[in-house]
Protein backbone atom coordinates (compact mmCIF):
# COMPACT_ATOMS: atom_id res chain seq x y z
CA UNK A 1 0.00 0.00 0.00
CA UNK A 2 2.84 2.26 0.84
CA UNK A 3 4.46 1.57 -2.56
CA UNK A 4 1.20 2.12 -4.36
CA UNK A 5 0.89 5.61 -2.97
CA UNK A 6 4.46 6.35 -3.97
CA UNK A 7 3.74 5.17 -7.50
CA UNK A 8 0.86 7.63 -7.75
CA UNK A 9 3.30 10.37 -6.70
CA UNK A 10 1.25 11.11 -3.71
CA UNK A 11 3.61 12.64 -1.21
CA UNK A 12 4.56 10.47 1.72
CA UNK A 13 3.34 13.22 4.04
CA UNK A 14 -0.16 12.85 2.67
CA UNK A 15 -0.11 9.19 3.45
CA UNK A 16 1.13 9.91 6.96
CA UNK A 17 -1.57 12.52 7.34
CA UNK A 18 -4.17 10.14 6.07
CA UNK A 19 -3.03 7.54 8.52
CA UNK A 20 -3.35 10.10 11.28
CA UNK A 21 -6.83 11.04 10.12
CA UNK A 22 -7.87 7.40 10.04
CA UNK A 23 -6.54 6.88 13.54
CA UNK A 24 -8.14 10.08 14.76
CA UNK A 25 -11.50 9.25 13.25
CA UNK A 26 -11.31 5.80 14.76
CA UNK A 27 -10.91 7.36 18.21
CA UNK A 28 -13.57 9.97 17.41
CA UNK A 29 -16.07 7.21 16.61
CA UNK A 30 -15.09 5.39 19.78
CA UNK A 31 -15.50 8.58 21.79
CA UNK A 32 -18.86 9.53 20.28
CA UNK A 33 -20.26 6.05 20.70
CA UNK A 34 -19.08 6.10 24.30
CA UNK A 35 -20.84 9.41 24.97
CA UNK A 36 -24.03 8.27 23.24
CA UNK A 37 -23.90 4.98 25.10
CA UNK A 38 -23.30 6.74 28.40
CA UNK A 39 -26.13 9.20 27.95
CA UNK A 40 -28.47 6.39 27.04
CA UNK A 41 -27.72 3.96 29.83
CA UNK A 42 -26.71 6.41 32.48
CA UNK A 43 -29.50 8.03 34.50
CA UNK A 44 -26.89 9.55 36.67
CA UNK A 45 -25.02 12.73 35.89
CA UNK A 46 -21.84 13.28 37.85
CA UNK A 47 -21.00 16.78 39.02
CA UNK A 48 -18.20 18.31 41.00
CA UNK A 49 -19.25 20.91 43.54
CA UNK A 50 -18.73 23.86 41.25
CA UNK A 51 -21.03 22.30 38.66
CA UNK A 52 -23.56 21.34 41.32
CA UNK A 53 -23.61 24.60 43.27
CA UNK A 54 -26.33 26.33 41.21
CA UNK A 55 -28.81 23.82 42.61
CA UNK A 56 -28.45 25.53 45.97
CA UNK A 57 -29.48 28.96 44.72
CA UNK A 58 -32.42 28.62 42.33
CA UNK A 59 -34.43 31.83 42.13
CA UNK A 60 -37.64 30.27 40.88
CA UNK A 61 -41.04 29.96 42.57
CA UNK A 62 -40.39 26.33 43.42
CA UNK A 63 -39.53 24.77 46.76
CA UNK A 64 -36.33 22.77 46.58
CA UNK A 65 -35.80 19.71 48.74
CA UNK A 66 -32.23 18.54 48.32
CA UNK A 67 -31.35 15.30 50.03
CA UNK A 68 -27.74 14.15 50.44
CA UNK A 69 -27.53 10.39 50.63
CA UNK A 70 -25.57 7.30 49.60
CA UNK A 71 -26.48 3.69 48.91
CA UNK A 72 -24.22 2.53 51.76
CA UNK A 73 -25.90 4.84 54.29
CA UNK A 74 -28.62 2.80 55.99
CA UNK A 75 -30.61 5.71 57.48
CA UNK A 76 -30.50 7.44 54.06
CA UNK A 77 -31.90 4.39 52.33
CA UNK A 78 -34.62 4.14 54.94
CA UNK A 79 -35.94 7.65 54.28
CA UNK A 80 -35.86 7.52 50.46
CA UNK A 81 -39.48 6.28 50.18
CA UNK A 82 -40.56 9.23 52.35
CA UNK A 83 -38.88 11.70 50.01
CA UNK A 84 -40.34 9.87 47.02
CA UNK A 85 -43.79 10.15 48.56
CA UNK A 86 -43.25 13.87 49.02
CA UNK A 87 -42.20 14.14 45.37
CA UNK A 88 -45.25 12.23 44.15
CA UNK A 89 -47.71 14.18 46.26
CA UNK A 90 -46.39 17.68 45.63
CA UNK A 91 -44.78 17.60 42.21
CA UNK A 92 -47.62 19.61 40.70
CA UNK A 93 -47.20 22.19 43.46
CA UNK A 94 -43.73 23.00 42.23
CA UNK A 95 -41.90 21.05 44.90
CA UNK A 96 -38.62 19.87 43.42
CA UNK A 97 -37.00 16.90 45.09
CA UNK A 98 -33.37 16.28 44.22
CA UNK A 99 -31.42 13.28 45.48
CA UNK A 100 -27.70 14.01 45.63
CA UNK A 101 -25.79 10.76 45.86
CA UNK A 102 -22.39 10.86 47.52
CA UNK A 103 -21.56 7.35 46.40
CA UNK A 104 -18.15 6.68 44.92
CA UNK A 105 -18.08 7.12 41.11
CA UNK A 106 -16.50 3.70 40.66
CA UNK A 107 -19.72 2.16 41.95
CA UNK A 108 -22.17 3.97 39.64
CA UNK A 109 -22.68 1.10 37.21
CA UNK A 110 -22.62 -1.84 39.57
CA UNK A 111 -24.26 -0.32 42.60
CA UNK A 112 -25.89 3.09 42.34
CA UNK A 113 -27.87 2.70 39.11
CA UNK A 114 -29.14 -0.79 40.04
CA UNK A 115 -30.16 0.68 43.41
CA UNK A 116 -32.08 3.57 41.79
CA UNK A 117 -33.88 1.09 39.54
CA UNK A 118 -34.63 -1.32 42.34
CA UNK A 119 -36.05 1.47 44.52
CA UNK A 120 -37.89 2.81 41.47
CA UNK A 121 -36.78 6.34 42.35
CA UNK A 122 -38.77 8.86 40.32
CA UNK A 123 -37.38 12.15 41.60
CA UNK A 124 -34.19 13.36 39.97
CA UNK A 125 -30.94 11.78 41.13
CA UNK A 126 -27.48 13.17 40.52
CA UNK A 127 -24.08 12.19 41.87
CA UNK A 128 -21.81 14.71 43.55
CA UNK A 129 -18.20 13.66 43.19
CA UNK A 130 -15.90 16.06 44.96
CA UNK A 131 -13.55 14.53 47.52
CA UNK A 132 -12.43 17.88 48.95
CA UNK A 133 -15.49 18.07 51.13
CA UNK A 134 -13.99 20.47 53.68
CA UNK A 135 -14.21 23.13 50.97
CA UNK A 136 -17.79 22.57 49.90
CA UNK A 137 -19.66 21.33 52.99
CA UNK A 138 -19.77 24.84 54.54
CA UNK A 139 -21.12 26.17 51.24
CA UNK A 140 -24.13 23.88 51.50
CA UNK A 141 -24.67 24.90 55.09
CA UNK A 142 -22.61 26.25 57.93
CA UNK A 143 -24.54 23.89 60.19
CA UNK A 144 -23.47 20.72 58.38
CA UNK A 145 -20.80 18.66 60.17
CA UNK A 146 -20.68 16.25 57.24
CA UNK A 147 -22.85 13.38 58.43
CA UNK A 148 -25.51 11.99 56.09
CA UNK A 149 -28.44 11.88 55.64
CA UNK A 150 -28.69 15.63 55.35
CA UNK A 151 -31.37 17.73 53.69
CA UNK A 152 -31.62 21.31 52.52
CA UNK A 153 -35.06 22.86 52.02
CA UNK A 154 -35.32 26.28 50.44
CA UNK A 155 -37.30 28.65 48.30
CA UNK A 156 -36.94 32.36 47.67
CA UNK A 157 -37.91 33.30 51.23
CA UNK A 158 -37.00 30.23 53.26
CA UNK A 159 -33.82 28.29 53.79
CA UNK A 160 -33.25 25.56 56.34
CA UNK A 161 -30.67 22.80 56.63
CA UNK A 162 -31.23 19.56 58.53
CA UNK A 163 -28.55 17.04 59.50
CA UNK A 164 -31.03 14.37 60.49
CA UNK A 165 -33.42 11.70 59.24
CA UNK A 166 -36.93 12.46 58.05
CA UNK A 167 -40.27 10.79 57.89
CA UNK A 168 -42.83 11.84 55.27
CA UNK A 169 -45.04 13.67 57.78
CA UNK A 170 -42.09 15.64 59.10
CA UNK A 171 -41.18 16.73 55.58
CA UNK A 172 -44.76 17.72 54.94
CA UNK A 173 -44.77 19.88 58.07
CA UNK A 174 -41.93 21.90 56.57
CA UNK A 175 -43.24 22.00 53.00
CA UNK A 176 -46.93 22.74 53.48
CA UNK A 177 -46.51 26.20 55.09
CA UNK A 178 -44.26 27.16 52.18
CA UNK A 179 -46.86 26.27 49.58
CA UNK A 180 -49.01 29.34 50.19
Amino acid sequence: MHDYFLYLHIPKEFFMMKKKIVILSFFAVLFISHVVYASKSDHLTVYNFEEFEHWLYKETDSIYVINFWATWCAPCVKEIPDFEKLYEKYKTDKVKVLFVSLDFPAQIENRVIPFIERMNMQAQVILLDDPRSNRWIPKVSDKWTGAIPATLVYNKEFRQFYEREFKFEELEEIIVPLLN
Binding site: W72, P131, I137, W144, G146, A147
Partner: protein, 201 residues
Amino acid sequence: MKMKKLGILLSMMLFTMATMAQGYEIGDKVKDFRLKNVDGSYVSMADFPDAKGFIIIFSCNHCPYVVAYEDRMIELHNEFAPQGFPVIAINPNDTIAEPRDSFTNMKIRAKEKGFPFPYVIDADQSVYPRFGATRTPHIFLLKRDGADLRVAYIGSIDDNFRDASAVEERFLANAIHAVQRGETPDPAVTRAIGCTIKTRN
Protein backbone atom coordinates in the same frame (compact mmCIF):
# COMPACT_ATOMS: atom_id res chain seq x y z
CA MET B 1 -44.60 37.97 86.14
CA LYS B 2 -44.05 34.55 87.59
CA MET B 3 -44.70 33.02 84.18
CA LYS B 4 -42.18 35.35 82.62
CA LYS B 5 -39.51 34.35 85.12
CA LEU B 6 -40.31 30.71 84.53
CA GLY B 7 -40.02 31.32 80.81
CA ILE B 8 -36.61 32.93 81.19
CA LEU B 9 -35.45 30.09 83.42
CA LEU B 10 -36.74 27.53 80.96
CA SER B 11 -35.09 29.15 77.98
CA MET B 12 -31.83 29.39 79.93
CA MET B 13 -32.06 25.69 80.72
CA LEU B 14 -32.79 24.86 77.11
CA PHE B 15 -29.88 27.02 75.99
CA THR B 16 -27.53 25.25 78.41
CA MET B 17 -28.75 21.87 77.22
CA ALA B 18 -28.30 22.85 73.60
CA THR B 19 -24.76 24.06 74.29
CA MET B 20 -23.95 20.87 76.16
CA ALA B 21 -25.27 18.68 73.39
CA GLN B 22 -22.82 20.20 70.94
CA GLY B 23 -19.85 18.65 72.74
CA TYR B 24 -16.28 19.83 73.06
CA GLU B 25 -15.00 22.88 71.32
CA ILE B 26 -11.41 23.89 70.65
CA GLY B 27 -9.62 24.50 73.93
CA ASP B 28 -12.10 22.55 76.06
CA LYS B 29 -10.81 20.23 78.76
CA VAL B 30 -11.46 16.57 77.96
CA LYS B 31 -12.68 14.01 80.46
CA ASP B 32 -10.96 10.61 80.42
CA PHE B 33 -12.82 7.43 79.46
CA ARG B 34 -12.45 3.73 80.16
CA LEU B 35 -13.49 1.63 77.18
CA LYS B 36 -13.08 -2.00 76.21
CA ASN B 37 -10.44 -2.71 73.61
CA VAL B 38 -10.51 -5.48 70.99
CA ASP B 39 -7.82 -7.33 72.99
CA GLY B 40 -10.19 -7.55 75.97
CA SER B 41 -8.38 -4.95 78.09
CA TYR B 42 -9.81 -1.59 79.10
CA VAL B 43 -8.20 1.58 77.77
CA SER B 44 -8.03 5.00 79.38
CA MET B 45 -5.97 7.98 78.36
CA ALA B 46 -4.45 7.83 81.86
CA ASP B 47 -2.75 4.60 80.73
CA PHE B 48 -0.43 6.74 78.58
CA PRO B 49 1.31 9.01 81.12
CA ASP B 50 4.02 9.97 78.62
CA ALA B 51 1.63 10.98 75.86
CA LYS B 52 1.82 14.61 74.79
CA GLY B 53 -1.63 14.24 73.37
CA PHE B 54 -3.96 11.84 71.58
CA ILE B 55 -5.45 11.32 68.17
CA ILE B 56 -8.97 10.23 69.04
CA ILE B 57 -10.72 8.80 65.98
CA PHE B 58 -14.42 7.95 66.15
CA SER B 59 -14.41 5.02 63.80
CA CYS B 60 -16.27 1.84 62.93
CA ASN B 61 -16.12 -1.20 60.64
CA HIS B 62 -18.83 -0.61 58.07
CA CYS B 63 -18.51 3.00 56.93
CA PRO B 64 -16.87 3.31 53.49
CA TYR B 65 -15.31 6.63 54.50
CA VAL B 66 -13.63 4.91 57.45
CA VAL B 67 -12.46 2.06 55.25
CA ALA B 68 -10.95 4.62 52.87
CA TYR B 69 -8.96 6.05 55.77
CA GLU B 70 -7.91 2.88 57.65
CA ASP B 71 -4.45 2.68 56.09
CA ARG B 72 -3.87 6.35 56.80
CA MET B 73 -4.99 5.83 60.41
CA ILE B 74 -2.30 3.17 60.77
CA GLU B 75 0.31 5.42 59.15
CA LEU B 76 -0.64 8.31 61.43
CA HIS B 77 -0.18 6.15 64.50
CA ASN B 78 3.16 4.85 63.26
CA GLU B 79 4.30 8.38 62.49
CA PHE B 80 3.02 10.21 65.56
CA ALA B 81 2.86 7.66 68.43
CA PRO B 82 6.70 7.77 68.71
CA GLN B 83 6.35 11.56 68.93
CA GLY B 84 3.89 11.24 71.83
CA PHE B 85 0.58 11.34 69.93
CA PRO B 86 -0.89 7.82 69.78
CA VAL B 87 -4.15 6.98 67.99
CA ILE B 88 -7.12 5.64 69.95
CA ALA B 89 -9.97 4.53 67.70
CA ILE B 90 -13.42 4.50 69.30
CA ASN B 91 -16.44 2.77 67.78
CA PRO B 92 -19.43 4.87 68.90
CA ASN B 93 -22.13 2.92 67.05
CA ASP B 94 -24.91 0.94 68.67
CA THR B 95 -24.15 -2.62 67.66
CA ILE B 96 -27.79 -3.64 67.45
CA ALA B 97 -28.63 -0.71 65.18
CA GLU B 98 -25.55 -1.56 63.09
CA PRO B 99 -24.55 -5.22 63.56
CA ARG B 100 -21.61 -4.80 61.19
CA ASP B 101 -20.01 -2.73 63.95
CA SER B 102 -20.37 -5.41 66.63
CA PHE B 103 -17.49 -6.05 69.02
CA THR B 104 -16.81 -9.38 67.31
CA ASN B 105 -16.59 -7.66 63.95
CA MET B 106 -14.31 -5.01 65.46
CA LYS B 107 -11.95 -7.76 66.58
CA ILE B 108 -12.01 -9.28 63.10
CA ARG B 109 -11.34 -5.93 61.41
CA ALA B 110 -8.55 -5.00 63.84
CA LYS B 111 -6.86 -8.33 63.14
CA GLU B 112 -7.31 -8.10 59.36
CA LYS B 113 -5.78 -4.64 59.23
CA GLY B 114 -3.27 -5.22 62.03
CA PHE B 115 -4.25 -2.05 63.86
CA PRO B 116 -1.23 -0.94 65.92
CA PHE B 117 -3.50 1.22 68.11
CA PRO B 118 -6.34 0.44 70.54
CA TYR B 119 -9.74 -0.01 68.90
CA VAL B 120 -12.28 0.40 71.69
CA ILE B 121 -16.05 0.38 71.90
CA ASP B 122 -18.22 3.13 73.39
CA ALA B 123 -20.63 0.41 74.51
CA ASP B 124 -23.06 2.62 76.46
CA GLN B 125 -22.66 5.49 73.97
CA SER B 126 -21.69 7.91 76.73
CA VAL B 127 -18.36 9.08 75.34
CA TYR B 128 -19.17 10.24 71.80
CA PRO B 129 -21.85 12.79 72.87
CA ARG B 130 -19.36 14.33 75.30
CA PHE B 131 -16.99 14.89 72.41
CA GLY B 132 -19.81 15.99 70.15
CA ALA B 133 -18.83 13.45 67.53
CA THR B 134 -21.48 13.23 64.79
CA ARG B 135 -19.97 10.87 62.27
CA THR B 136 -17.33 8.29 61.50
CA PRO B 137 -14.58 9.08 60.85
CA HIS B 138 -14.48 12.12 63.16
CA ILE B 139 -11.12 13.13 64.60
CA PHE B 140 -10.31 14.98 67.81
CA LEU B 141 -6.68 15.92 68.43
CA LEU B 142 -5.98 16.39 72.14
CA LYS B 143 -2.94 18.10 73.60
CA ARG B 144 -1.58 17.89 77.11
CA ASP B 145 -1.86 21.03 79.17
CA GLY B 146 -0.29 20.31 82.56
CA ALA B 147 -2.49 17.65 84.12
CA ASP B 148 -5.28 18.27 81.62
CA LEU B 149 -5.97 17.26 78.06
CA ARG B 150 -7.51 19.86 75.80
CA VAL B 151 -9.01 19.77 72.33
CA ALA B 152 -6.62 21.23 69.74
CA TYR B 153 -8.20 20.17 66.46
CA ILE B 154 -11.53 18.70 65.30
CA GLY B 155 -12.30 17.33 61.87
CA SER B 156 -10.88 15.11 59.19
CA ILE B 157 -7.47 13.56 58.61
CA ASP B 158 -6.83 15.35 55.34
CA ASP B 159 -8.57 16.94 52.38
CA ASN B 160 -9.11 13.89 50.16
CA PHE B 161 -10.78 10.79 51.55
CA ARG B 162 -10.69 8.90 48.29
CA ASP B 163 -7.11 9.23 47.18
CA ALA B 164 -4.27 9.50 49.66
CA SER B 165 -1.89 10.39 46.84
CA ALA B 166 -4.02 13.38 45.82
CA VAL B 167 -4.03 14.94 49.29
CA GLU B 168 -3.05 18.59 49.28
CA GLU B 169 -3.51 19.40 52.95
CA ARG B 170 -2.80 16.98 55.79
CA PHE B 171 -5.07 18.79 58.24
CA LEU B 172 -4.39 16.52 61.21
CA ALA B 173 -0.64 16.15 60.70
CA ASN B 174 -0.35 19.94 60.26
CA ALA B 175 -2.35 20.41 63.47
CA ILE B 176 0.01 18.11 65.38
CA HIS B 177 3.01 19.99 64.01
CA ALA B 178 1.43 23.25 65.13
CA VAL B 179 0.85 21.84 68.63
CA GLN B 180 4.45 20.65 68.73
CA ARG B 181 5.59 24.18 67.93
CA GLY B 182 3.33 25.57 70.63
CA GLU B 183 1.05 27.17 68.06
CA THR B 184 -2.70 26.99 67.48
CA PRO B 185 -3.65 24.75 64.54
CA ASP B 186 -5.04 26.56 61.51
CA PRO B 187 -7.54 25.37 60.47
CA ALA B 188 -8.54 24.10 63.91
CA VAL B 189 -11.83 22.71 62.57
CA THR B 190 -12.47 20.98 59.25
CA ARG B 191 -15.44 19.13 57.88
CA ALA B 192 -15.86 15.96 55.87
CA ILE B 193 -18.59 13.62 54.75
CA GLY B 194 -19.03 10.64 56.99
CA CYS B 195 -21.49 8.07 58.29
CA THR B 196 -23.87 9.10 61.03
CA ILE B 197 -23.35 7.58 64.44
CA LYS B 198 -25.95 4.85 64.83
CA THR B 199 -28.27 4.83 67.81
CA ARG B 200 -31.27 2.74 68.70
CA ASN B 201 -34.49 4.68 68.18
